[in-house]
């Protein structure tokens, strides 16, 4: 690739009209599933799209995907699974309460939160519930084993739903929002109300990690496929923390990529190369190669069309994105 005019992939993007705020995206093999603020799920495949009413007269607040299923939580109090064929099934139903935290494990288990109560159902259908000290904001399953991380006020709780033992409480003052495990399960990281990240080194020493300096909240976290880097939103560049050493990022400077005069709203690491998709509040999307910081334009800025969701397919050939005004699209990388 030569330097000079900004190379562009905009010709490789197939636009889609999702029609409502795109909350989250998942891939069901070759089909992209867009969870929408008006309760629908839009299935996009090969330039065709099909809308499914997953939460009629409601809205999708949160969604998770494991490559086979697209599971959504709504403000109708339902957890719904949508398949690539457009079929939907209600997995759980509660009266009136919002489902705004949700996690899916590779083994087929899922968990959701309603206020302080977190419910996990394993692949055999066994359901367990746990009450955490305040409303569960983020849920994430450990990469291996049936263990759930729950972020809440003043810390995070690590819970084995099928084990009687007392859940482990990771304490840190303040309100914790989203939570994520590193792919090797050595670290748990949360984003916080105070424009910072907090992390716990689970192995070997339960040490704390503080990652601060953001001008706004981080609501998007993405690990590189090998777990060596954690990309984050919340600044006018993607902030990428090094996690290759045992200590994590402590004492190290994060990388800043894609500096632009707009806040990064979503980040998504390519599943198997050091390429990061960076979505901005002004609607722009860049692909950035970490090795040489070279940039490729996927979408130019579009007014009132901030990026709200992005997801790579399993093989890393396609990137689906969605925006606050209901615009969406699928980028297919040139062969």
């Amino acid at each position: 690739m030569t330097t000079g005019t900004a190379p562009s992939l905009t010709q490789n993007v197939a636009p889609l009209d999702a029609g409502a705020h795109v909350t989250a995206i998942g891939w069901l093999k070759g089909t992209a599933a867009f969870g929408l603020g008006d309760g629908g799920v839009l299935l996009g495949r090969d330039g065709e799209s099909h809308r499914v009413e997953a939460h009629p007269d409601a809205g999708v607040l949160v969604a998770a995907s494991d490559g086979e299923r697209f599971v959504t939580g709504g403000d109708d109090g339902r957890v719904v699974v949508t398949g690539a064929d457009g079929s939907t099934k209600t997995l759980a139903e509660t009266k009136g309460a919002w489902i705004d935290s949700l996690a899916l494990s590779a083994g087929g288990a899922f968990a959701y939160g309603i206020g302080k109560r977190v419910t996990a159902r394993d692949d055999k259908g066994r359901e367990k519930s746990l009450e955490v000290p305040s409303a569960a904001r983020g849920l994430a399953f450990a990469p291996k084993g049936y263990r759930l991380a729950i972020s809440h006020y003043n810390g995070a709780t690590l819970w084995f739903p099928n084990v009687e033992a007392k859940p482990e409480f990771l304490e840190w003052k303040g309100s914790h929002l989203d939570v994520t495990w590193s792919p090797d399960a050595r670290f748990v990281v949360t984003s916080m109300q105070e424009n910072a990240l907090h992390g716990w080194r689970l192995i070997p020493d339960k040490g704390h990690m503080r990652m601060s300096g953001y001008p706004s909240k981080t609501r998007s976290l993405s690990w590189s496929g090998d777990g060596k880097w954690l990309a984050t939103s919340g600044a006018e560049a993607a902030i990428i923390w090094p996690f290759e050493s045992k200590e994590g990022p402590m004492g190290k400077v994060p990388r800043e990529c894609g500096v632009r005069p707009a806040k990064v709203s979503r980040v998504a690491f390519h599943p198997n190369t050091y390429v990061l998709a960076v979505g901005y509040e002004d609607g722009c999307i860049l692909l950035i190669r970490l090795n040489d910081a070279s940039e490729l334009l996927v979408r130019p800025g579009v007014e009132d069309s901030g990026i709200t969701a992005m997801a790579w397919d399993k093989g890393g050939k396609r990137l689906a994105f969605g925006c606050e005004d209901g615009q969406a699209g699928i980028l297919t990388l040139p062969a």
């Binding site: 409303a135 109300q193 706004s216």
Partner: protein, 320 residues
């Protein structure tokens, strides 16, 4: 940038008539759609409105300020509601009778995501004309709600005599002389008196100036909660005023519930207008002085155990 969604906060001690007012707002033919954040389901008998349950989770901010609290559940709910933008025109937050309005108000100033998309319109407090005087004696929450209010609905006036009514209104005035008080029965009041008040808008503070500048003539005195207003018949020196107001709200922040002010700076064609909640201050130059208009400066504080004399002397020392 689209307009920010107005948010009305509805407070009031238990049984004062909050739900009656809420139902009145929702049933009136106004052609508007409201998202309603409530504590308990089942009290509202209205379908086809977006109703959300709140947890009233008050979180401290990690910034070393003990009075910097926000409502974590409100941040979460507003985040979710913004995914359904366009489905509603305004938001109403109903608090429990025991809730402190400050964390609710502070959420709109402390949280960037919230303040980017929504604006606090007014705090509306419903008070029971028969029981308010008693509650002011035994319930600190009731006093907070009166002190914090922009609009006070003095309800159930049919249950008290005119003398009792004047008595309770004087008590309200002793705590908060600046709120607009409406006497009602069954919360019967035009919706326009409750919604879209823009009480936290800086330019609106100027619009309210006649009321705002009027000295209180209340004869009642509340031992604990009071308002302090100080006026200077002229301009203040920004070099003295800015450090003074900043220091006062930092040191006395936990005791100051609300503050407002309009001040004149030398050689500044516009007024400096500010308002605040506890330690949080919001201020800007706004609205030109009219030609020939007298430049005066005035500040108002409502709070608990305020040292009125120190505040008075401090402000007067800022005179240009």
């Amino acid at each position: 940038m689209t307009d920010k969604i107005p948010v009305t906060v509805l407070t009031g001690y238990l049984g004062a008539g909050k739900t009656t007012l809420l139902n009145r707002i929702l049933t009136e033919q106004h052609g508007k759609k409201y998202a309603v954040i409530v504590n308990e389901f089942g009290e509202i008998g209205i379908d086809n409105e977006l109703v959300v349950g709140a947890d009233e989770e008050v979180f401290e901010m990690n910034n070393g300020c003990i009075c910097c609290t926000v409502r974590g559940d409100l941040i979460r709910i507003l985040d979710g509601l913004m995914k359904r933008k366009g489905k509603f025109d305004a938001i109403i937050v109903e608090t429990t009778g025991l809730a402190d309005p400050a964390p609710v108000a502070q959420t709109f100033f402390m949280d960037q995501d919230v303040s980017d998309t929504a604006r606090l319109d007014a705090v509306v407090t419903v008070a029971d004309a028969k029981w308010l005087s008693d509650r002011l004696k035994d319930a600190p929450e009731a006093k907070n709600q009166i002190a914090f209010a922009d609009v006070i609905i003095l309800n159930k006036i049919d249950l008290v005599s005119e003398t009792e009514l004047e008595e309770v209104e004087a008590r309200i005035r002793a705590i908060n002389p600046y709120a607009k008080v409406h006497r009602t029965q069954n919360c019967a009041i035009p919706i326009s008196e409750v919604l879209d008040r823009k009480a936290f808008d800086l330019d609106r503070i100027i619009a309210l100036e006649p009321d705002f500048l009027e000295e209180g003539h209340h004869h009642h005195h509340d031992e604990e909660m009071q308002s302090v207003s100080v006026a200077i018949d002229g301009e203040v020196d920004p070099q003295k005023f800015m450090p003074w107001i900043s220091n006062l709200t930092q040191v006395e922040g936990p005791n100051i519930l609300r503050c407002k002010g309009i001040v004149a700076f030398p050689d500044e064609p516009k007024r400096f207008v500010f308002q605040g909640v506890h330690m949080i201050l919001d201020g800007d130059v706004q609205g030109e002085w009219k030609p020939g208009e007298k430049h005066t400066s005035k500040v108002v504080f409502i709070g608990r155990d305020l040292d009125a004399q120190a505040i008075r002397e401090g402000f007067l020392a800022c005179a240009a």
